[in-house]
């Protein structure tokens, strides 16, 4: 029983990491229907930023986190401006390939500049473990869990309740009509990228701190997983991204705990496919059947 609850904690904290990354994916996808392959690499940039400012400039945790969010936001906006904006009226698959190209560029560019060695992330917050009836959870786990829940609620509020959020939704359903009511599309899309990418930047610092190891390719695997999580939850949906992240985290943990660790990704993909067959637009996705 104790083991069981411990596994739940393990699953939740892994899930919260996927959720954190999936939120950014979903934001960007929601507005321009682009799988932003480079999202995982912005997370990597955030982690490296945190690494340097803490080690070299001796930032504290909060300022490292906030500055990494700024760096994430800035890189998201810059990438959108140079790589995606020129392709806004091109086929979506073109933009996807560009996103893959940007991802390659960030991964290999960083490897080139900083070598592909793994680095240990400075442990700026001392890890403290809390024990509750034999089940243990660390302060950093709680921090990540709380952050991703709060961010999810915050994002949902921004999208549903603010003027900018409405503008984002309007741009995503009909960009021309949005312009006709006075929405600056470029601005709105930049804002979305800034928001989504700042989440990746924050995730970089949090996850760097949690696992204590960063490298230029660190964005690849969780990037794909987080994307799968976003799809599972219904890509474009904020609560979907979180739920998808938690489901995958718990599922992976469960599969490993019953001794099928060699198949953990296979099981995740299998469940993904099964869920998509039942809910073709993911758990929270609106299945907008075309009206004939």
């Amino acid at each position: 029983m104790q083991t069981f609850f411990q596994q739940i904690i393990n699953g939740l904290s892994l899930g919260s990491i996927y959720a954190l990354l999936a939120l950014g994916y979903t934001m960007v996808y929601g507005i321009i229907k682009l799988i932003n392959f480079a999202h995982g690499d912005i997370y990597m940039l955030g982690a490296f930023w945190g690494y340097y400012v803490i080690n070299v400039w001796h930032f504290n945790f909060i300022s490292a986190l906030l500055s990494a969010m700024l760096v994430g936001a800035a890189s998201g906006v810059i990438i959108e401006y140079f790589a995606y904006r020129p392709l806004r009226h091109s086929p979506r698959i073109t933009a996807l390939i560009t996103a893959i190209g940007v991802s390659f560029l960030l991964e290999n560019g960083m490897s080139y500049l900083f070598t592909s060695n793994t680095r240990d992330f400075p442990q700026i917050i001392k890890q403290v473990n809390y024990h509750l009836g034999g089940v243990q959870i660390s302060n950093i786990q709680i921090l990540i869990l709380a952050t991703s829940c709060i961010l999810m609620i915050l994002l949902q509020l921004i999208i549903k309740k603010t003027k900018m959020g409405r503008a984002m939704r309007a741009v995503s359903v009909d960009a021309d009509a949005a312009e006709l009511v006075g929405i600056n599309i470029n601005w709105t899309i930049s804002f979305t990228f800034a928001l989504g990418s700042s989440l990746a930047g924050a995730a970089g610092v949090l996850i760097g701190l949690y696992y204590n190891s960063i490298d230029p390719l660190m964005g690849m695997t969780p990037g794909i997983k987080a994307f799968v999580a976003a799809v599972l939850g219904g890509i474009g949906s904020v609560p979907g991204a979180s739920v998808g992240g938690f489901i995958i985290g718990i599922l992976e943990t469960f599969v490993q705990s019953i001794g099928l660790s060699a198949y953990k990704d296979a099981v995740v993909y299998f469940v993904l496919i099964v869920i998509l067959l039942i809910l073709p637009a993911g758990i929270f996705g609106k299945n907008t059947k075309e009206k004939v």
């Binding site: 309007a170 312009e179 006709l180 009511v181 006075g182 929405i183 907008t288």
Partner: protein, 235 residues
């Protein structure tokens, strides 16, 4: 002169959709633009509202050249377009669609007042205000599109085929509403396939064919014109 279009050329890649069109609209008028499919009517509207950039020509609005302004700036200047095919925001409620209409209006009281006016004019929208706009019927969507445009307090409203695909009973209603909007001080540029209806409520009209103005006159003059009758009024 509220709006002057001067020797306008617009291209889609190599296709010349509009070839040297000039016309003008006075404050308080209803001006109608009629012409066959593909004549370039929608293209002209989109160019005025800033969605398209002209190849050459001038568009002057309240003594300012606006042909190189972006759509949001044009909206801010007081020109609203009701696009062809309605283009309401699916997935947003009726209420949210209308809120989007006054995206650029800062004054909360003013927004509130706009809501009241729109709901008064389109009572059906008030009934449906929390419904997803995508589930409205065609006529209701058209009303929503007009309501949304009015939420921006436009001086000039551009209507692109507001009667398309509507049942006869809705068509009458829509034209009544256009007249009313105009009476309350909004200048109207109206594009229509339904030339008879359009010309009958218009102060002046222009006939457009393959990207050029062919004819102009008051609404009644055009209605009485033989060529116009033959080509656009069905005999």
């Amino acid at each position: 002169m509220l709006l002057t279009v001067d020797d306008l050329f617009v291209n889609y890649g190599v296709i010349n959709a509009v070839k040297g069109v000039s016309f003008n609209i006075n404050e308080g008028e209803i001006v109608s633009l009629i012409g066959a499919n593909g004549a370039g009517k929608s293209t002209i509207l989109k160019t005025i509202s800033g969605l398209l950039r002209p190849k050459s020509g001038k568009i002057t609005y309240e003594d300012q050249e606006i042909q190189s302004k972006s759509a949001p700036k044009v909206v801010a200047d007081g020109i609203s377009q009701v696009p062809e095919g309605r283009h309401i925001f699916a997935g947003l409620t009726v209420m949210e669609n209308l809120q989007m209409g006054s995206f650029l209006v800062k004054d909360r009281a003013k927004i509130k007042q706009n809501f009241d006016e729109v709901f008064e004019r389109f009572p059906i929208l008030k009934q449906r205000k929390n419904q997803d706009a995508a589930t409205l019927s065609g006529g209701e969507q058209q009303m929503l599109a007009m309501g949304r445009a009015l939420m921006a307090n436009p001086k000039l409203i551009l209507l692109d085929e507001p009667s398309m695909g509507l049942a006869p009973i809705f068509i009458n209603e829509i034209f009544d509403i256009i007249k009313e909007i105009n009476k309350q001080g909004t200048t109207v540029l109206l594009i229509e396939q339904n030339a008879k209806k359009a010309l009958s409520i218009a102060d002046r009209g222009y006939v457009l064919a393959t990207g050029k103005i062919q004819m102009t006159g008051t609404g009644d003059e055009l209605l009485a014109n033989k060529d116009v009758q033959k080509a656009y009024l069905g005999g």
